[in-house]
Point group: C3
Chain length 361, copies 3
Amino acid sequence: MNAPGQKSIGKRASVAELAARVGGLVEGDGTVEIMGMASLEDAGDGQISFLADLKQISRLERTRASALIVPSALPSFPKPLIRTPNPYAAYAKVQTFFAEKEFEPLGVDPRAYVAPGAQIGRDVSIYPFVYIGKEARIGDRVVLFPGVYVGEEAQIGEGTILYPNVAVMDRCRIGKRGIVHGGTVIGSDGFGFAPDKDRYIKIPQVGIVEIEDDVEIGANCAIDRAAMGRTWIRKGVKTDNLVQIGHNVVVGENTVLVAQVGIAGSTEIGNWVALGGQVGVAGHIKIGDRVRVGGQAGVAQDVKPGEVVSGCPAFPHREWLRAQVVFPKLPEIKKNLSALEKRVEELEKILGSRENPKDER
Amino acid sequence: MNAPGQKSIGKRASVAELAARVGGLVEGDGTVEIMGMASLEDAGDGQISFLADLKQISRLERTRASALIVPSALPSFPKPLIRTPNPYAAYAKVQTFFAEKEFEPLGVDPRAYVAPGAQIGRDVSIYPFVYIGKEARIGDRVVLFPGVYVGEEAQIGEGTILYPNVAVMDRCRIGKRGIVHGGTVIGSDGFGFAPDKDRYIKIPQVGIVEIEDDVEIGANCAIDRAAMGRTWIRKGVKTDNLVQIGHNVVVGENTVLVAQVGIAGSTEIGNWVALGGQVGVAGHIKIGDRVRVGGQAGVAQDVKPGEVVSGCPAFPHREWLRAQVVFPKLPEIKKNLSALEKRVEELEKILGSRENPKDER
Amino acid sequence: MNAPGQKSIGKRASVAELAARVGGLVEGDGTVEIMGMASLEDAGDGQISFLADLKQISRLERTRASALIVPSALPSFPKPLIRTPNPYAAYAKVQTFFAEKEFEPLGVDPRAYVAPGAQIGRDVSIYPFVYIGKEARIGDRVVLFPGVYVGEEAQIGEGTILYPNVAVMDRCRIGKRGIVHGGTVIGSDGFGFAPDKDRYIKIPQVGIVEIEDDVEIGANCAIDRAAMGRTWIRKGVKTDNLVQIGHNVVVGENTVLVAQVGIAGSTEIGNWVALGGQVGVAGHIKIGDRVRVGGQAGVAQDVKPGEVVSGCPAFPHREWLRAQVVFPKLPEIKKNLSALEKRVEELEKILGSRENPKDER
């Protein structure tokens, strides 16, 4: 987002150079010079595009891109090509090359507030109206956009970017190369209240949130601090926007949480899990590694590693696929069952009158 | 919200003047002077109220309002009346009249930060702690509340209001007469990651968000910028709070998104669509014009123009209404089916013993 | 959250003193000195822990805590004990004792903005970059974190804490001892638009939000102001994060709203209600006192006091429990029904050929 990308920032590379960057094979003229990237439909002269999936091969017909990143198995095509088994990852890498600007640290703006005892690393960009609390530690090359709040003793690792109005509450920690999008709150109090006669008593939430390296958190999320101990977001986790993570939750490495997911307190999510949009997960359960959960599902019990589940409450996705197509036919099923009951009754009368005369007493 | 409304700000108008303003017909004394508006239950002397629907006619009995906006078909009633075919729209217009204050621009507060090269229109109100980035363009009569962030090269159209702590990221554009409620983030990165061996690679999100004229966005929403190209909110769209709009989504003209709706990437929503609260829409699908989707529904496939759907996954609303009433009876259906199977088995035995003796071998 | 809690802040108390504080009975050595609290697994020398539920009694085996808060009915155990009928509430009280720091007001930071006519109480902490509008009233001992916005004529009661980037819009009121977590917006416009020919007209939202005493609101919530009158959050209400409350809603005393709940306009929720995570409630309905709603349920109609409901649309929870287990079996039910229909048809043929020869014409 720091990079304008679609307006040229002057970067150029030959098709062969880009192929080397992504580990792909050049087919056709590798000397063609490329100045940027766009979709197949929008790309024009001097731009490269990509086809992620052979199923969409018809999209190639009209493209005016000067070169293409394509799946290894694509039949020949009259443009300079970069063949690769993973065109989507290659697209990410080429786009990163074109979008990356040289990093120019702004330093600490005099309109920011830095409390006594806070440690600020080198080459940071701290915008106006940023607040950094006592004893906080800000790593090298960190970027804090306007309105960011970093609480007392909080830690922000090297190269991490906090977008506008992100709040990292006291003592919480974010690792290296992290990205947190606007408005997200890290370290709000967990939701804990003990009923006591005619009121609730608040349970002080004295734990923290710990976020490891290479984590990206979406906009307007809320990640609660632990009641005691830590809420723990492992390395490589990616969350979309408006995600809720309760106190003492553990989210395993490289797990992906799509928008509006909610995870209740003390639940453990494994590594490489994917939760679809609007999924809700109950508290105090375990979701195994590489589990996939369909959008809007409600997970109320442990899920074993590798399972794919859907529905509310969730059950195996394949069974859900078969059950949900029957759901609209429920009225018909009910009607047919009633009709059948009458027919059976009729048969029973006929037979009963002959076979079981005693029933007619 | 700028207008206090319920405390008088000194505006007055006769019933006849208000009727002219809404294109209604006066019945009774049109010279009665009105100083404000309130609900039928709360209105008192000098206030006008409204009845939107004849079904609620009993609410008129005890009202102490001095005049009433009513449906054209209301039988006679002993108060000064403004008759109109659309009392709800007339209410909106009269309330707007009483609530509107004269616009007094504050100018640019010295505690705001305006970067070099930013263009600021005339008669703006830019509060303390607003940040405006390089080359941003702020139209005439724009109001930016405290904590608003406007990124580099972003554009805010004439008369648009951004409430506290709204962030409009770099290069995004908002049209004229827009309203964005507090905490909303426009132009956060779309959620795109390419799996590559043992990690995810971030796909740079180099597109923008474009919001046309007369759009209102609720509080704490997130509208992601496009991967390439634009996420596009067409004119007249209204979204409620906590709405998520993914990258490259198009939301058609005058479409309404109720609170907590989530729309996944690259989906196209038509004009005059209404999505109920907490609806989830999958990515890469098309929702036709004037479609209506019931609350909490999950839309996984294209929906044709004019359809009304509900459920997860969504299907025609009328069928859903019939299916959902059967759902609670599932245990009974299952039980009855088992019982019936036994009865049929019994009948088969009786008949079989006579008709098909060979089956009993 | 103001208290570090897990790092000692120098507080100490004997087991007997803590028992007195929670109204519990000491068993064993009441003179043992305690310096903090931790979970059974993490507690060490000088720390107290707690067991909330006898079902988890096995967790006691390996604890190294120096003392324990336990249910009255626990069999004897070789540690200093505090026996109480409500160990969870006792935990809350003891944790509060250890976590509470002495309150040290910061005063009004010169980098905050206080408009003319605003009234500021005694012993407040108003951080940098806080905005307080004209005629706003800030009570004694209020804490306003950086980025907080308090609109014109808004009122914040004694001892209330607003965390970073909270916005309380004009004329809204918050009672005493309130807590509002980061990013929450109180008093955004209600979602009201009147269709008028080819567009929507905005209905001015001229009411307010009124929040009573002892209310805690989570992070990144949105509570809309009333169209007219007030949106009303009664005393003792607790909401989790990302909760949406529409205009003119009433939330009764001590009601608990779990994360991502959405309540549509004009609905009335009773006292001591609990809505599970991601629950949606339709507009213009009534939820009675002490109702409990299961996670992800959709409540479309009035619910009587004391009922427990689940599902979408919601119905009694016990029936839902029985229905949802049958749902995955729908394909089997459908298949079995079809098979049974064929068997009955077969029987009818056999009998019909003998009993109703006229049917075979």
